[in-house]
């Protein structure tokens, strides 16, 4: 797992037929050295704090996860294609914030952002574009210069 050929037939057709955006350009931003990186995580697991408003199933906005609230995170994205047993036992299997903090403490990266983010998964990625571009500006205000994108 996971290649399409390995996916259960019920999910296979959905994933095969998913209308991936046609991205004509090939943007490339040269990264800073790892030791100079301020890193944020963006997940598409539909993560949010319990007190946040829920994601609608086709929601293309995002939720904010403060770095000191990782243990309060719940996962709105429920699917027949994945269980939440791993997430139940360890947030880091989806949202590796603790690992990122350890890398910063070890000096392997510069620092960890104060805020992290999540979108809902399995939505039309094209509709995320306005929110994603807005979010880029917000992250740069916080001096974030590198982002790790994690799926579910």
């Amino acid at each position: 797992m996971v290649r399409l050929v390995d996916v259960d037939p019920l999910l296979h057709d959905f994933l095969r037929d998913y209308d991936c955006p046609k991205l004509e350009s090939q943007p490339w931003t040269p990264p800073p050295a790892l030791k100079d990186m301020r890193v944020a995580i963006i997940s598409t697991a539909g993560l949010k704090l319990k007190t946040d408003r829920p994601f609608a199933s086709d929601s293309c906005d995002y939720r904010v996860i403060p770095a000191d609230k990782a243990n309060d995170v719940v996962q709105d994205h429920v699917s027949a294609g994945h269980d939440r047993i791993g997430f139940m036992d360890d947030v880091n299997i989806v949202f590796p914030l603790q690992r990122l903090k350890e890398l910063a403490e070890a000096g392997e990266i510069g620092s960890v952002a104060d805020f992290h983010y999540s979108f809902m998964g399995a939505v039309d990625a094209r509709k995320m574009e306005p929110a994603a571009r807005q979010l880029a500006g917000i992250m740069k205000e916080e001096a974030v210069n590198a982002v790790i994108l994690t799926p579910v």
């Binding site: 991936c20 991205l23 490339w28 709105d76 939440r84 880091n92």
Partner: protein, 243 residues
């Protein structure tokens, strides 16, 4: 995920994506992608295995050293087999009376409420031990979430039980809460369980699992596409849909 990387990079942020589905990354060619051969739901591979998670994360960060892109590389390790609870002892399933057949549309309610009663102390242990819970998306107490889903199955209601929550969201989140409650409770008991054992126990050995499998069939026949989507994609783990 891949498209997000594209948009952010275009705005001047360096990104690396972890991908669980190689074909989509191949199609959208985001700037830097690490494909990981793990099941959906586990992009870092293994729960409570910091060393393994760190290897995944370092492999992703290593892609920042590539001079040009797009870059798509494969993580070389499979995820280790895991038990959810690492306590000593054998897996000791919580045995309930044989659930009604999934073809049934009645007869689940009292059995499920009894199961919830029996699991409740272990759910409390889970909350204490883990310091968190996945339960709560639907906003109902677990017995009420179970009653709502069962009432839908029995054709007693077609309305959301929560103000300002759509029927679709009520169905998917009450279903998610019910599953989370059972999974968290059973794994708080002594013994070792892997994900397959937990899933088999819930879907094949509990009345709650049987009720959700029966409810899925009802949702698939609904006139509303959003409700059919819950049945198709959100309620029952796909490997237990083939009956």
């Amino acid at each position: 995920m891949s498209a997000l990387g594209h948009y952010l990079e275009d705005e001047g942020l360096s990104t690396v994506s972890i991908s669980l589905l190689r074909e989509h990354a191949e199609t959208m060619h985001p700037p830097r992608t690490l494909w990981v051969p793990f099941p959906f739901g586990r992009p870092l591979g293994a729960a409570n295995d910091p060393a393994f998670q760190m290897r995944v994360l370092r492999a992703a960060l290593d892609l920042f050293h590539r001079p040009s892109g797009p870059v798509l590389e494969d993580f070389p390790e499979d995820a280790p087999a895991q038990a959810v609870d690492d306590m000593d002892g054998q897996f000791c399933p919580v045995s309930f009376p044989k659930p009604p057949a999934p073809e049934d549309r009645t007869g689940f309610r009292e059995a499920i409420l009894s199961e919830i009663d029996q699991l409740a102390p272990w759910y409390d242990v889970s909350c204490e031990r883990r310091g968190r819970t996945m339960v709560g998306l639907g906003g109902l107490a677990i017995p009420d979430a179970a009653r709502f889903l069962d009432a839908w199955l029995a054709d007693e209601t077609r309305e959301s039980p929560v103000t300002d929550m759509s029927k679709v969201d009520a169905l998917r989140w009450c279903g998610a809460d019910l599953k989370a409650f059972y999974f968290e409770a059973v794994t708080a008991r002594p013994g070792r369980m892997d994900a397959k054992q937990i899933s088999d126990w819930f879907w094949l050995g509990t009345s709650a699992g049987a009720m959700l499998r029966a409810l899925r069939k009802v949702l698939l026949a609904d006139a509303e596409s959003g409700i059919r989507d819950v049945g198709n994609f959100m309620l029952v783990a796909e490997e237990y849909c083939h009956d």
